[in-house]
Symmetry: C2
Subunit: 521 residues, 2 copies
C-alpha cells in the first residue's frame, strides 16, 4: 500500500502555520492542548493491610506451589537456569525469587515516540489514555455493524491523532480484515507512523512482526539502533491465557521487547466465574500471579526492563456467560489491583470498557464507571479509553468522540486551579463588593477570570430544551456522529520528514517483497 | 381530591402475600431489597489542611464582617437577642458565636417515616437517595415536553415507591400545575403518604403549608403530637437566595421544623460566576457562610436541632449564563464542601444532576459524575438522584429508571463482599483444582457462589450485538420507557391502616373547606 499522504507536505500547508490551524481539521472543535494529566487524588483503597498481605500471600502461593505454564521453550530454559522448579511447561518460582525479580523493575519510565513532545511518563501519578484497540468490527449510526476494514482503520487513526486527550495509539483501533495478515502489520504501522506522532505499540504476534514494528518505529524516529535501545520508544502488551498460562508468541514478543529496553505490559484476561475464580479477590490474585510470573521472567533476562501490571479483571453475566464491563465488581477489582501494583512498586494499566452494543446511556454509565475505576486505582495507562463497544468487539467513531469528551473532563478535573484557596480564589473582596443585591457576572473578579474559569465541553449541549429542540433536538450520539465525520474529513497529518517517510516506504516495500510475516501462528 | 386508592386493599390483595409478590407491579424487575447503603470509601479530599483553614477563615470573615440578610423579622430578633450585630436586615455574627452554635448540632440523626422499616440514618458513612424534586415540566419519549400535571405527579410517586434504591421521597417529583396552589400541598402530601411509605419532606413555603404537612405526617404515622416531636419524622430543605440572603418563608419553615425537632437542610444555590464568585473555592466559601448562618440561627432557637449542610454549588456556561451540572468544577466543589462538612461535624446533602435535555449519553455522564461526587464527598443525602433533566426543569420517567440502575450499582459497589479476602474469597484451592486446562464455570467454588457473586442489572442489555439486534435493537432510553410504564401500570400501594387513611382524608377535606393555604407568597 502506498504512502497515505501522496501530495507534498509543502503544498498542503501553503497557508502557513496560521492557515493550518484555522483549517477545518484542527478548528472543528476547541480542545484542550496535548498535555499528560497528573492524577492528584489519593487512590480509593478497599483493602486493609491484612487484605493486601492476604492477596500477596495468595500470589506467592500460586507461583510457588501451583505454578504457571510457560508455552515457550526459551522462557522455560531461562527460568530453569534461574533455579525455578520446572516440570514440562509448568514452572514454579520460589517466593524470594519472585520478590527479588519484581524489585528489579522501575517504578516509572518514559516512552518517547517520534515526536518527542508526545513523550509519556508511565508511573506515579501520571496518566495516559489510549484509543480502543483490536475490535474486529465497526459500527456507526449510518452503517450499522460492519467487519473492520482498512478505510475504517485509517479513520480511527485520524481521530486518535486529532484528539489531544488521546496520548498513545495502542493496538489497531479496528482490525483491517481486508488487509492480508502477512503484511497487515506493515501497512498498519506505516499508516500509524505517518498519520500520528504519538506513542505506538507492537502486537506480540511472532518475532517477525515485533522486529518489523521496532524497525519501523526506529526509522520513523530517525534513530540509530543504539538510540532506539537507549530508552523506551514504543511498547507491547501481552495477555496470559488464563488460567495460569503464557503462550509462545506473547512470551517471545515480551522477551524481545525487554531485551531491547522497550516496555512490556502484562495483562491477564481474568473474567471472574469463567477463566478465574468467581470471587473478586480470587480473580485479582490469579491475575497478579500470572502478571508477576511474566514480569519475573523478563526481569531475570533483562534486569530493570520497564514493565507494568495490566488488569482486565471483570465478571461475566452468570445467566449467559457473556463478559460484563464497568460493573461494581469491575471497579473494586481495579481498585484492588491498583493497591497491589503500588505494593509491588509497578505502574498499572487498566481500561475504558463497556458491554453495551451502541453508544447510549448504558455504554456511558459502564464506560464512566471504568474511567472512574482507572482514576481511583491510580492507573497509569488506560487502554481502550475511546471508541470501545460490545465488550471490545466493536469500534465506533461516535463512542470515540463521546469518550474524548469524558476524557477532557477528567483532565480538567485534575487541574489544581479547581481547589486553589489563595486570596484571589476565596474572593472575599468580590463577596463584599457584590453584596446581597447584585450578581457576579459583571464584577471585576469575574471579568478577570471568566474565560478560563470553567471547562467548556465540545459535545455537551447546554442550551435549554426549547433552544435545543428548535435546533433539531439532536441526541448526543448523533452530535458525535456529525463531529466524527467533520474531524476525519478535515484531518491533516502531523509533520514527518520526507527522508523518514521514504525510508519507511522502502522498508515496507522490501518486507512485502520478502513475503511479510508468517501467518501460521 | 378523593383518596387515590378507592377499592379496598383487601380485594386488591386477594392473592395473599405470595400472589401480591408475583403480580406485575412487584415482579417487573428483580431488584435489590430496601436497605440503606453505607459508604466505606475514604472521601476524596482535594484540600490540604491549609485549604480547609483558609475556607473556614473565609466563612467566618463573611459572617462576621460582611453579614447575611435575614428577611424575616423573627429571625432578626432572635439573632439580636443572641448578641449579633444587626443593621436592618443585615446580621453579622461573631466568629465564636458561629463556632459555638454549629457545635450544638448533632453529627448524625435518624428520620423515621410512617413505615419504621424505612427509617434513615443521616450522617457518618450512611447514604440515602431521593427522587427528583420540583421540576415544572415533564418529558417522556412518547409525549415530549409537557407542563407538569397531577397524573404525572402520581406516576412518579409510584416509581419512587417501587424502587428500593430510592430511600426518601423529597419534594414533588414534578410540579402538578393543574392543582391549585392553595390546596396543592394537601393533595400532594395525601397522595404521597398513601402511595409511599418512605421519608417525606415539607416545602418551606409559608407557615400554613408547613404545619399542614407536619400534621399529615403525624396522622399517617399514627402518632401523638408528643411522639411526632420526640424524633425526626420528616424534614425540610431551604435554599438561600444567593448571594448572602435568606428569605422570609424559608426561614419561617426552617424555624418551625427546628423547634419541633424535625431536620432542616440548608442548601444555598451558589452558581459560580452568577450568584457566587467565579472561583470554586469562592463559591464554596459563600455557600458555607450562607448555610452556617441559618444553622447558627436554628441552633440558637433550638439547641441540638438536626440540621445538614446542603451543597448545590456548580458553574454556569460562561457563553450563555446557563447553569451546568456534573462538571469537573461541580465535582471538586462537592468534594470540598464534603471536607468542610466533616470539619464542622455536620451531615452533607448533595444531588444527582445534569444539564442534558433528554436521557442520552450526555445526561448519563453528567449524572454519573454528580453521583460519584456524592460518593467521593461523603454525602449523606442525595437529592434528585433519579429522574432529573434540563438542570431540574424536566422530570423524566426514562431518566428515573436509568438513574435507579446506576443507584443499584452504587449500592452493590458498597458491598464488602467485593473486596473480602478470606480463604474462600482467595479461592486458592479452586485455582489448584481448575489448574491451567479448565475453566471455572463448573467448579464447586463457583457453583456454591454464582447466584450471589455478581450484580445483575435490570436495565443493561448484556447480550451480544446480534442477539440484541434480533430482539429489536432497543437503546437504553427506550428500554427504560417500556419499563417505567410497566412499573406504573402494575403498581400496588404499600399498606396503610384504614383509620389513618380516613383521618388523612378528613384532615384534607377540612383544610380545603377552610380554603387551604394563602397563595400570595
Amino acid at each position: 500500500m502506498d504512502s497515505l499522504i501522496s501530495d507534498t507536505p509543502k503544498r498542503r500547508r501553503a497557508g502557513g502555520r496560521r492557515g493550518h490551524q484555522d483549517r477545518a481539521g484542527h478548528a472543528v472543535i476547541e480542545q484542550m492542548p496535548f498535555r499528560q494529566p497528573f492524577n492528584p487524588d489519593r487512590p480509593t483503597e478497599p483493602l486493609g493491610p491484612e487484605g493486601v498481605a492476604a492477596i500477596h500471600d495468595g500470589v506467592l502461593h500460586i507461583l510457588s506451589e501451583i505454578g504457571i505454564e510457560f508455552l515457550n521453550p526459551d522462557a522455560v530454559a531461562h527460568l530453569k537456569r534461574a533455579g525455578c522448579r520446572v516440570d514440562g511447561t509448568n514452572v514454579r518460582m520460589d517466593r524470594d525469587f519472585v520478590t527479588e525479580m519484581v524489585a528489579r523493575a522501575p517504578a516509572e519510565f518514559t516512552i518517547t515516540p517520534r515526536n518527542p513532545d508526545r513523550a509519556l511518563r508511565i508511573g506515579g501519578g501520571w496518566m495516559a489514555f489510549g484509543n480502543v484497540s483490536s475490535p474486529p468490527n465497526y459500527w456507526d449510526l449510518k452503517t450499522g455493524k460492519q467487519t473492520g476494514s482498512w478505510a475504517r482503520y485509517v479513520d480511527f487513526l485520524k481521530l486518535s491523532q486529532y484528539f489531544n486527550c488521546i496520548h498513545f495509539v495502542g493496538g489497531y483501533p479496528v482490525e483491517p480484515v481486508d488487509v492480508h495478515a502477512a503484511i497487515r502489520h506493515l501497512d498498519c504501522l506505516q499508516a500509524k507512523l505517518e498519520l500520528t506522532d504519538k506513542v505506538v505499540h507492537a502486537y506480540s504476534l511472532g518475532r517477525e512482526r515485533v522486529e518489523d514494528v521496532m524497525e519501523m518505529v526506529r526509522i520513523a524516529g530517525g534513530l540509530s539502533h543504539a538510540e532506539f535501545e537507549a530508552q523506551p520508544r514504543m511498547y507491547t502488551n501481552i495477555n496470559s491465557v488464563s488460567p495460569l498460562k503464557h503462550d509462545f508468541p506473547m512470551l517471545e514478543g515480551a522477551m524481545i521487547h525487554a531485551r531491547r529496553g522497550q516496555p512490556v505490559i502484562v495483562t491477564p484476561f481474568t473474567l471472574a466465574g469463567a477463566m478465574a475464580p468467581v470471587t473478586m479477590a480470587g480473580a485479582v490474585t490469579l491475575s497478579l500471579a500470572e502478571a508477576l510470573a511474566a514480569i519475573a521472567l523478563l526481569q531475570f533476562i533483562a534486569p530493570g526492563a520497564p514493565v507494568a501490571i495490566g488488569t482486565f479483571t471483570s465478571n461475566v453475566d452468570m445467566k449467559s456467560g457473556a463478559p460484563a464491563f464497568g460493573t461494581p465488581e469491575y471497579i473494586r477489582a481495579t481498585q484492588m489491583t491498583g493497591q497491589m501494583a503500588r505494593f509491588y512498586g509497578l505502574p498499572l494499566r487498566s481500561s475504558g470498557v463497556c458491554a453495551a452494543n451502541v453508544p447510549d446511556a448504558q455504554a456511558t454509565w459502564e464506560t464512566s464507571a471504568s474511567l472512574w475505576a482507572a482514576i481511583q486505582s491510580g492507573s497509569n495507562m488506560v487502554y481502550h479509553a475511546a471508541g470501545w463497544l460490545e465488550g471490545g468487539l466493536i469500534a465506533s467513531p461516535e463512542k470515540f468522540v463521546m469518550d474524548c469528551e469524558m476524557l477532557q473532563q477528567i483532565q480538567r478535573y485534575f487541574d489544581p486551579a479547581l481547589w486553589a484557596t489563595g486570596p484571589g480564589d476565596l474572593a472575599l473582596d468580590a463577596v463584599a463588593e457584590v453584596g446581597s443585591g447584585g450578581h457576579y457576572f459583571g464584577c471585576q473578579h469575574t471579568q478577570d477570570r471568566y474565560q478560563q474559569a470553567f471547562y467548556a465541553p465540545f459535545l455537551s449541549d447546554w442550551r435549554n430544551y426549547e433552544a435545543w429542540d428548535a435546533a433539531g433536538g439532536v441526541w448526543t450520539a448523533e452530535r458525535a456522529h456529525a463531529l466524527s465525520r467533520r474531524i476525519i474529513d478535515g484531518f491533516e497529518a502531523p509533520p514527518l520528514a520526507e527522508d523518514r517517510r521514504e525510508a519507511l516506504a522502502e522498508f515496507v516495500a522490501q518486507r512485502k517483497a520478502e513475503g511479510g510475516a508468517p501467518t501460521d501462528f
